[in-house]
Amino acid sequence: MTLTDPAFIRRLESLYLLARKILGGSLQSDRRSTKKGAGITFADYAQYSLGDDYRSIDWRVYAKFESLLIKLFELEEDATIYLLVDCSPSMASKQHYAKQLAAALGYIALNTLDRLAVYGLADHLKPLFDPCRGRNQVIPFLRSLDAAPAFGGNTDLSTCAREFEARHRRKGLVCVISDFLLPGGFEEGLSRLQWHKHDVFCLQTLDDNDLRCEWKGDVTLECVETGQSERVTISPHEARLYEQAVAEWNDGLKQTCAKRGLGLMSTTTDISFEHVITDLLRRGGLVT
C-alpha cells in the first residue's frame, strides 16, 4: 500500500480527527501551545511587573483587592514540525513503517495548519519535502515521502544535525524517526538538534531482527550500510551477548533522552503505526 492510497489516507484522516480532540484550538493555528502569550484562551494570572502590557491588567481584581494582576492567555502560534526520517540502508526492513509514521505525523501537522518540513537522514541530510503549510500540501507531501529512496552509507546523526542547524534556526518540533543503531553514536547529534531550542522527539523503530539473533552456526556477517563482512561462529552464548548489547544500547538512548529532556518512544514494526501515533498524541508528544 502506497502512502497516497485512499485507504491509507482514510486511516490518516481518522488519526487526525483523534488528534483534534487531543490538541484542540481553532484560530491562528490549530496547535495548542504550552507557552503563554496573546491568545483568547485564559490560562492564568500573574503579578504585574514593569514593562507588562497594562491592557492586560484585570481591573476588576484591582478594584476588589487593590492588587495589579495581569491575565495570561495561551499562546496560539503556528509551530514548525521537522520530520527527520532515517533513509539509510539499515532502515530497509523498517523503511515503509518509518514512512507511515512520518506520513501520519505530517498529515496531522498540515491539517492543523503547522509548517512542515521533511528530511531524509543518512550520512548526510537530504530534503524530502520543503517547508510549507496548508491542507492542500498533504498529497504532495505524501507523494514526496513515498518516493523518497534509501541513500548514503552509515547514518551520521551529527553531520545531519549540523546541516539541519544551518538550514533552520526557527525553533520547532523536530521528530527523528530512526532505529538509532548508529555506529557513530547519537548523543552529539541529539545535542546539536537542541541548540536552537528545538523540541526534539525521538521515535525509535526497530524490528525483531534488530533485537534478537535467531540464527546460530558459521555465518558471514555483512553490514548492510558499509558492506563490511566478518566470518564468525555464533553460538547461543554469542546470540545472548548480542541481545544484551542491543538492550544496553537502547538503555543508553533512553538515558540520554531522559537526561536531555527529549521525548522518546520505541516501537517495533509489528505494532500498527496508528497505535503508535495515538499513544504518542495521548502522551503529549506533539505539544511544544
Binding site: L181, W215, V219, E230, Y242
Partner: protein, 569 residues
C-alpha cells in the same frame, strides 16, 4: 582380540574422503545485519580464543575421525572373549534353592540377569534357546536369533518349591551328535541331586554367602503302643558356618494347637534326627516349623498328614476262627489296618477257609469243594515245591514264599484270567488272585493246620499284605511327600497317581489329604563345592560393537555441541 567380520575394516579407507571434505573451504551463509558495530564489539572481546578458532577444524576432524573409526570397528565386530560363537541352549535352574536370598536379591534373579547378559552377548549369527530346569526341564524358547523372544522367555521363569532332578536334563540330549554345534549352559547354584551324573553341560555357577537351615526329611505316623500314639521324625540340616540355636514348633493344624516346642542346636551340615513319640496325639494335619530367619523360607516348614484310623472291617468264615480273629485283632492294635466286623454284612474283607464268600473280596485258605474261584479240586500234592512267578507283587512283600510250607495243597486249576503268584513245580497254583465279578479273591492253596501256618511268621505277613492289596491300601502315602512327586490315592481302584505336587502344603484329593514339603537336603544346604564353573570362554553382556557405537554417538554429539558445524538455523 579377533574380529568376527574383518572385511568391514576396509571402511577405514573412507577416512580419506572424510578428511578431504573437512579441508574443503566451506563458505558460510551471508547474513546482513543492521547493527554490525555491535557484533564487532562482541567478537573483538573474543580474540583471545583465536588459536582455538584456527585449530577448530582440526579438532573437529579428529573427533569425527574418532567417531568414524569407532563405527568401522563396531562393524568389524571385535571379539574379546574368544568365544567359539556356537549356538546356545541356556538352561536356568529355578529349583527351590534358587529362591534363596542373599540380601534382597534371589539367586534366580541373579541367574536371569546372567542369562540376559548371555543373550546380550550373542552376535548376529548365533541362535539361542532358553529352558528352565527343576524337577523337569521345560523348553521356554526354541532356537532363535530373536533376542526379545529369548528375553521374554527368561523373564517368564518363575521360582518354584521343587527340588532339582539331574535326570530331567537328559531330555535335552546334550552331547548328542546333532547338538555338537550347541553349547548347553546350565546356570545354577550347584544344589543338584546328582551333580556327578550331569550330562555334557557347561556350568555357570552362582555363588553367594547365603546361610540356611531347613528340614530335609520328615515323617509322622502311628506307632505301636497305643491307639493314639504318633512317632515324629525330623532331619534338620544347616549351612550356617557355626552352630545356631533355635526351636522347632510342632502344631496340630486342624485344631490349631501348638503341641510341642522342641529346642535344638543346629550344627553345620546334616544334624542328628529329631525323633519323638507323641501320646494322645490326634490324627489329621500337622506342621513342624523351624523358627529361624534364613535365606530360604520354603524348607523351614514340613507339612505332615496322619490319616484318620479307618480299619477295614474283616469277617471270618472258618471252623477254627481263633487264629484269624487274633491276627485281625493284632493289626487293629498296631496300625489299625484291620478290625473284626461285628457281622458278616458289614465286612469289607473276608478271611475264609475252604469257602468263597459272595459279594466281598476274600482271602481263602485251603480250597475245597466246588467254587468259581478254582476248578477241579483234586488230591493233595505230595511235597509241594513252591515257585514264585511275580516276586515284586505287593502281596508277596516281605514274604519268602519259596521257603514257606504249602502242606495240604491240592491239585487245583486256577480259573482263566487269574494271576498266579506262586505255583508248585508240577503246575498247580499255590497263591493266586482271581476276579469274580466285582470281588477279588486271593486263594492260598495250603492247609493251615497241616502246614502249621498259624504259627508261622508268614501268616500275619500274608494276611496283612493280602488285606492291604485287596482293599487297595498297600501303598499308603508318606506323612509328607517331596514337592514335585506324585502319589497314588489310597482306597482308589484307579491307579493314576495324583500330582506332581508343585507347592508345599496340604492338598485335598477328595477322600484323602496329601501333605507336601520341600524335603531335600541338597536344596536346603544351598551349597555344593564339588561342582566347578566351566572355563570355556563365553561372550557375556553387551558386545564391544555396542559400546563402540555408543562411543561414536557420544563423540558425534560432542562434536555437534562444540562446533555447530555448517548448521545455520
Amino acid at each position: 582380540m579377533s574380529f568376527l567380520a574383518p572385511a568391514f575394516l576396509w571402511t577405514f579407507v573412507a577416512l580419506a574422503p572424510l578428511a578431504a571434505i573437512y579441508f574443503l573451504k566451506v563458505r558460510p551463509r551471508k547474513k546482513p545485519v543492521t547493527a554490525f558495530f555491535l557484533w564487532q564489539k562482541i567478537f573483538s572481546e573474543k580474540k583471545a580464543s583465536a588459536l582455538f578458532k584456527r585449530l577448530r577444524d582440526v579438532f573437529s576432524l579428529l573427533l569425527m575421525a574418532a567417531a568414524f573409526a569407532a563405527i568401522a570397528l563396531a562393524l568389524a565386530e571385535p571379539d574379546l572373549a574368544g568365544d567359539e560363537r556356537k549356538d546356545l541352549l541356556i538352561v536356568v535352574d529355578h529349583s527351590a534353592s534358587m529362591s534363596a536370598k542373599d540380601g534382597t536379591t534371589t539367586r534366580l534373579e541373579k541367574a536371569k540377569k546372567r542369562a540376559r547378559d548371555l543373550i546380550a552377548g550373542m552376535n548376529g549369527t548365533q541362535r539361542a534357546a532358553v529352558a528352565s530346569f527343576a524337577e523337569v526341564t521345560r523348553m521356554l524358547a526354541h532356537p532363535t536369533r530373536h533376542r526379545k523372544a529369548l528375553l521374554e522367555a527368561v523373564d517368564g521363569i518363575q521360582p518354584t518349591e521343587l527340588p532339582s532332578r539331574v535326570e530331567s536334563l537328559r531330555a535335552l540330549q546334550p552331547g548328542d551328535e546333532w547338538m555338537k554345534d550347541t553349547r548347553v549352559l546350565l546356570i545354577t547354584d550347584g544344589c543338584l541331586d546328582e551333580p556327578d551324573r550331569l550330562p555334557g553341560v557347561e556350568i555357570l555357577r552362582l555363588d553367594d554367602g547365603a546361610k540356611n537351615a531347613g528340614i530335609a526329611r520328615a515323617d509322622l505316623r502311628s506307632v505301636p503302643g497305643g491307639p493314639q500314639r504318633l512317632g515324629l521324625f525330623l532331619l534338620p540340616v544347616s549351612s550356617f558356618p557355626a552352630p545356631v540355636k533355635t526351636d522347632i514348633t510342632l502344631t496340630h493344624v486342624d485344631s490349631n494347637t501348638l503341641v510341642k516346642l522342641i529346642p535344638i542346636e543346629l550344627k553345620p551340615g546334616e544334624n542328628p534326627a529329631v525323633t519323638l513319640t507323641l501320646d494322645d496325639a490326634p490324627t489329621g494335619r500337622w506342621k513342624a516349623t523351624l523358627g529361624l530367619e534364613d535365606a530360604l523360607e520354603a524348607d523351614n516348614t514340613a507339612f505332615l498328614h496322619v490319616p484318620p484310623r479307618q480299619p477295614v472291617p474283616v469277617g471270618v468264615v472258618a471252623d477254627d476262627p481263633f487264629f484269624f480273629q487274633n491276627a485281625v485283632s493284632a493289626f487293629e492294635r498296631s496300625d489299625q489296618l484291620l478290625a473284626l466286623a461285628p457281622d458278616a454284612k458289614s465286612a469289607r474283607l473276608m478271611l475264609s477257609k475252604s469257602k468263597v464268600p459272595t459279594d466281598v473280596s476274600a482271602i481263602v485258605f485251603h480250597p475245597a469243594g466246588e467254587s468259581t474261584a478254582w476248578a477241579k479240586v483234586g488230591d493233595e500234592i505230595g511235597t509241594p515245591v513252591p515257585k514264585v512267578f511275580i516276586k515284586d507283587h505287593a502281596l508277596l512283600r516281605y514274604l519268602d514264599a519259596e521257603t514257606m510250607s504249602f502242606a495240604g495243597a491240592r491239585q487245583i486249576t486256577a480259573p482263566a484270567g487269574s494271576v498266579v503268584l506262586v505255583a508248585d513245580e508240577s503246575g498247580p497254583p499255590l497263591i493266586y488272585l482271581t476276579r469274580i465279578g466285582a470281588q477279588t479273591v486271593c486263594v492260598v492253596n495250603l492247609d493251615p493246620l497241616a502246614a502249621q501256618f498259624y504259627l508261622s511268621a508268614w501268616f500275619p505277613v500274608l494276611i496283612h499284605n493280602a488285606a492291604a492289596h485287596l482293599t487297595h491300601r498297600e501303598d499308603l502315602p508318606p506323612a509328607t511327600l517331596a514337592t514335585g512327586s506324585s502319589a497314588r490315592v489310597p482306597g482308589r481302584a484307579d491307579e493314576t497317581p495324583y500330582g506332581p505336587i508343585l507347592t508345599s502344603g496340604f492338598h485335598e484329593t477328595g477322600e484323602w489329604t496329601l501333605a507336601a514339603s520341600l524335603v531335600s537336603p541338597e536344596e536346603s544346604l544351598l551349597r555344593n563345592e564339588t561342582l566347578k564353573e566351566s572355563l570355556k570362554p563365553i561372550a557375556s553382556g553387551e558386545a564391544p560393537s555396542y559400546w563402540l557405537l555408543v562411543l561414536a554417538i557420544l563423540v558425534l554429539a560432542g562434536e555437534s555441541i562444540l562446533y555447530h558445524r555448517r548448521k545455520v538455523g
